[in-house]
């Protein structure tokens, strides 16, 4: 089977400062894979490079076997079926909830289809319907994360890139978010997730990568990697 996304030997720098050096990873259709790593390990850099928002120094990023994403602009990559739940939500705070959701479907030509998907999201998240005309900046953190996820789903993606979806949320909301990740995956959407909450992430993912200072130091199926001492020590609080 061809991978949906395959990144190989990726190196990205901010000016002279390397953020990612020689990262390779892949994800197959229907999978959930997670990149675990501390702050500054380069997780967001990888996501932004896949989205076309950063230009790497070297490496390749291929999508669906045929598309070289490094030759495409972000809006062209979106049209191939890639959507994003950014770190810290990054909603348009001055736009209303419904306008944020409509923007999720910006690349869709059929306006009716977008309206339909927005309605589906209001069914799924009734709280958002109540707040549809409020500016997104006035919502609580949990509600904002719902908008961020709904916005990405309205894009009807094949591949969803989720950047720390649990960041800054109350524990009870975190559980909801991970339940949602499982539901989204059950809809047939492949998910590449970046997380620090390893305990939760390893429950939904099938494969994990461990990223340290810009390089992948360990990777494998979750069933195996969860017992590796490094992950135990760093993330799960177990005995090394």
């Amino acid at each position: 089977m061809t991978p949906l996304l395959s990144v190989s030997d990726l190196a990205v720098s901010y000016g002279a400062v390397p953020a990612v050096a020689g990262v390779s990873l892949e994800i197959f259709p229907g999978e959930v894979r997670v990149i675990l790593g501390a702050n500054g390990a380069g997780k967001t850099t990888i996501i932004k490079t896949v989205l076309g928002l950063l230009r790497p120094r070297r490496g390749t990023v291929r999508y669906g076997g045929e598309h070289d994403l490094l030759r495409l602009k972000p809006h062209q990559i979106r049209r191939l079926g890639v959507a994003w739940v950014p770190e810290g939500r990054q909603l348009w705070n001055t736009l209303s909830v419904i306008d944020n959701l409509r923007m999720g479907g910006f690349a869709e030509r059929d306006a009716k289809a977008v309206d339909r998907r927005v309605d589906e999201m209001f069914e799924r998240f009734p709280r958002l319907r109540e707040r549809r005309d409020q500016v997104a900046g006035s919502l609580s953190g949990g509600e904002q994360q719902m908008v961020a996820i709904a916005r990405a789903l309205i894009a009807a993606p094949k591949l969803l890139l989720m950047d720390e979806p649990s960041l800054g949320l109350a524990p009870i909301i975190v559980r909801d978010v991970f339940r949602l990740v499982r539901d989204i995956n059950a809809m047939g959407i492949s998910i590449l997730m970046v997380e620090q909450n390893a305990r939760q992430a390893l429950r939904v993912a099938s494969w994990a990568y461990l990223l340290e200072v810009g390089a992948i130091v360990d990777s494998g199926p979750v069933s195996e990697i969860a017992s590796h001492s490094r992950i135990q020590a760093i993330f799960l609080g177990g005995e090394a």
Binding site: H75, P86, D99
Partner: protein, 290 residues
Amino acid sequence: MMPLLLQQIANGLVIGSTYAVVALGFSLAFTVLRVINFAHPDIFMVGMFAGLVLAVPGPWGFVVALGAGALGAAAVGYALERTVISPLRGRDVLMTLIGTLGVAIMLENGMALIAGPDPVSYPNLLPREFVDIGPVTLTLRQVVNFAICLALLVLVSLYVRATKFGRATRAIAERPDVAAAFGVDVGRVCQATILIASAMAGVAAVSVGAMYGSAHAFVGLLYGLKAFTCMLVAGNRYFEGVMVVALGLGIIEALVTGYLSSSLRDAVAFFVLIGVLLFRPNGLFGSYAT
């Protein structure tokens, strides 16, 4: 006492509406493209001359001149976007600032070379009539100018709030990366934004030329400074905020002219600027983080 007050407020709204159109053009470029477009006031000036040159006599003369102003200004805006803004955008904000300043100097002095450095008289596109509105008397030309500028402001406001492309414009203003990742072709929206800002400056310029009966190669300087001030005072978070501040500045200037001295008029904008920025550095209505 009362009639003078109302009269000056009306005069202020007329001139303020023009400031608002130019200021909105500045604000669009700064908010959406992160570019301080110092050539914008001179695009306004080019529009004024385009209307003057292509004006035809007859009842449709004014409409044709407005169209010519819009096209002339939009053409310069397009060329500016292609040659200076697009290649330099995304780098240090000073680079586009210097680039557009260079274009501004070129446009002003180029026009002074062609049309001369002194004011040129504008064709009589509108009849010289007076209109009484209650206790206030305005010239027909003032009323037309106000109506045109107000219509432009309402159109832009509708565009950014109620259309898909306009929504994308605001999305870029707040978070360009996220907008791009959700399918917005940022380069194309930026181009459209400069075209809209330029075309509406051109329309307003013809209407101002017809109102005062003259065009001037250096007319952009004054409008530019006032408009730039309005943008800073309002902040760039809401385009409507810029409009309100510009209308307010027009009124304050008219009141200063009416009650104090017309020589103080042009200083007022800067007193307001210093006063507001001292207490609200992000402007009256707030600004996006950069």
